[in-house]
Symmetry: C4
Subunit: 267 residues, 4 copies
Amino acid sequence: MQDKKLKYILHSIIFEADTRIGKVFDIVLLVTITFSVVIVMLNSVYELHLKFGDLFLTLEWIITVIFTLEYFLRIYSVKRPLKYIFSFYGIIDLLSILPTYISLFVVDTHFLIVIRMLRLMRIFRVLKLVRYVNASNTLLVALRSSRRKIIVFLEVVIIIVVITGALMYLVEGPESGFTSIPKSIYWAIVTITTVGYGDIAPQTILGQTIASMLMIVGFAIIAVPTSIIGSELVKVKSRSNTRVCSDCEYPSHDDDAICCKKCGSKL
Amino acid sequence: MQDKKLKYILHSIIFEADTRIGKVFDIVLLVTITFSVVIVMLNSVYELHLKFGDLFLTLEWIITVIFTLEYFLRIYSVKRPLKYIFSFYGIIDLLSILPTYISLFVVDTHFLIVIRMLRLMRIFRVLKLVRYVNASNTLLVALRSSRRKIIVFLEVVIIIVVITGALMYLVEGPESGFTSIPKSIYWAIVTITTVGYGDIAPQTILGQTIASMLMIVGFAIIAVPTSIIGSELVKVKSRSNTRVCSDCEYPSHDDDAICCKKCGSKL
Amino acid sequence: MQDKKLKYILHSIIFEADTRIGKVFDIVLLVTITFSVVIVMLNSVYELHLKFGDLFLTLEWIITVIFTLEYFLRIYSVKRPLKYIFSFYGIIDLLSILPTYISLFVVDTHFLIVIRMLRLMRIFRVLKLVRYVNASNTLLVALRSSRRKIIVFLEVVIIIVVITGALMYLVEGPESGFTSIPKSIYWAIVTITTVGYGDIAPQTILGQTIASMLMIVGFAIIAVPTSIIGSELVKVKSRSNTRVCSDCEYPSHDDDAICCKKCGSKL
Amino acid sequence: MQDKKLKYILHSIIFEADTRIGKVFDIVLLVTITFSVVIVMLNSVYELHLKFGDLFLTLEWIITVIFTLEYFLRIYSVKRPLKYIFSFYGIIDLLSILPTYISLFVVDTHFLIVIRMLRLMRIFRVLKLVRYVNASNTLLVALRSSRRKIIVFLEVVIIIVVITGALMYLVEGPESGFTSIPKSIYWAIVTITTVGYGDIAPQTILGQTIASMLMIVGFAIIAVPTSIIGSELVKVKSRSNTRVCSDCEYPSHDDDAICCKKCGSKL
């Protein structure tokens, strides 16, 4: 009986954001996460590591132990522990504590705890910003329904990049930095995405001509994903522009519709 | 009585752009602002500073004193001085004169008077280009209503950039220039925005593979803000097109419509 | 008679993807293609070439002989061999085997067999992803109908790039890397597409001013292809949504509409 | 009388593209223009200049003399010579021959005859591609009606770039290449347009932080011109989607309009 009550209290503190104490808990959590990520970043700066390395390590271990405790409390207090463990947030919570423990065996892996940042996505829940969640949902729906076109697009990009890479490996050769086809493909990606580091750059006239063509293709190709996602986003919007039929409750009629498109009764 | 009249005249000269003298005042102001910004720029060129440094400094002080005088006249002539002081333009006007005075104590800060440029935004008022103001309003409305989606988008970008940065710090290490996580994050931002300086660039095969993936993500991600703002801009436009027929109440007539496009009665 | 039957069986295996054996054949084909492209890539890495060069070459020849056999079986089993030979896929199939044979006479050309990758486009057929084909068709239709605007756009870009190139050649000269007009045009393309390698960069003030203007033009110009393709894509979509009511002939009903949205009769 | 006939014949050859001889003339012209631009380009390559410099110069002078002759024939045969001289094409035609003559006095200016390329825009007339002209008109209309928003946008970009430039000059100083405010502004333009040469790059942590923010602003800002022009292009399209009223001949009614929006009669 008491165990049940404890579980209930813990659940309301840890999982809910509506009660006052639940809100405080979430805010403390977010601050701690941010704090621990900043510590890891600072620890990677050599000068700071020399001076405060021990302090950083101690703080990291303290926070990790707290997060581990929190993780087990979550498992304990939730109704279906397995569902939580394999949920998106459950996996993130586990990944957030693992790197520190692994760093006992493999050097430097504790830097990977920046993955903790993913926990910051809870911020939307804390601020009760339903509209933020809606906004990200709209984006996700648009991305999902343009999935197929994006896969076709990516395949075309990959084929262009591999063929251009092989061509440039033949044309330019190792003297200009095109030492292998994989490296040439890396250069082609750097070029077609208009990043253009310049660590590898064509030197021969033929190579520069091919590169110019690749650039213009990349320039034109930027348009494609923008157009795809953009036109999906417009569609998502119009779909959410819902007029519901009063007879059959079928949603999403156009603004100029006079009759329900399902049952035919006047709107 | 006379004080009141003086205030009125000053107000009409300084704040209004409809009277002839007010217009002349505004144009002289704009020319002076541009002139002073150009002087500061030229003064930063070492060769010119050696030759004309004293001249530049004198001119800068003269203009600053004039602007200071103008600032106090504005406070004096306006009806509600506090409201002006804390308004957008009031703060800009203050920031436009401060750097020169601060440069008496802190070296080189007088270069910050380029902030004066913000005063140039008054140009829209001078040219009475109401339509320019409308244009910038349309942009602002579109940006404001896509605020939430842009925040979600920026959070995703920040999370990607921090995690990739930490990963590249582990994979590449200080030999390739990835000396710390903050620096690696800087590199990730340079890459995902497709700027690509090339001052830091991955050298290992694993690093180049991760970089390639980051580039393609960045390439695809450019599409998102474009699509968001674009679809908002379309919305803003259609919203501004709602004229409703007074007879049949059919909405969304074009600006050039004289008769209702449904029932045919005069709008 | 038997020849006809053999042809029929071969055709159903090689060309069709509906029968079980046809599907197995296609999957084996796709795996073999990917495998052979990976081998060519690895062979171009100098360290791996030293160690496994002979193995790679042997594998490449085995795969090429298999593909050659497959190519002749395709010609043999298809009803109209000439139509196949000059079809898109027929040419790709031929190009996929030629480089290995040419490499007997011209050194290093066997790297060109990465063109085999184009055969991977059959994957859409194997997976029976009609919707993928639709997606790529939508893209193609949008690209085709915006063809003219894109040609006008490209001509403008080429004219800007050539004139700026010649100008920069005069302004900067060989000291900054602008050794000839073609090279300057290459720089202008690198700049206007916002790739920006930095291998050639203006050094003089005049040169940097012209470069800045070119960059801003490039920045603004990115908008144009995006807008063109985007607005075509929206058009393609709305066009594909035209279902006309058989009673009142009101057009453009949605795909999920059962009744006409104007008169209410069944569609 | 004969003079008039000569004028008429010349006019039909030089200015018209409908007659057979007029078409031949235009094609010869286009080929000659392309040929002369290619010669100038090749002449700028040092190795080719050494070998064929004299040949190139001779050809250039021959073509220039022909173009000069053509220019005067145009003035002679046209009805209103002054209108032609000050028209867009008239000025281009003059600029196409001037650089060669100027090169007699000022060294190397003959490279500027690449401006001849602008004459290639006549190609649309030759190919009678009315639809190409329409396509470029649609683009021009969209650009023109989004003029104001683009000016507002450019002013914002210029203000951001100047202020960031001055800030970086203070933060980074001459050691990192930020030797003057104009140069820092050049860097800011290189960064905000995502070109990113890398010839100047921030070295300090503060500088890299400011640069990161500028990049993200640039990343977000790319969206704005795309959205502006895109939404205008959609508008232009719908405007050109003209249904004309049979009574008052007022154009550009919407697709779902039942009555004319000007006179109110049924469409």
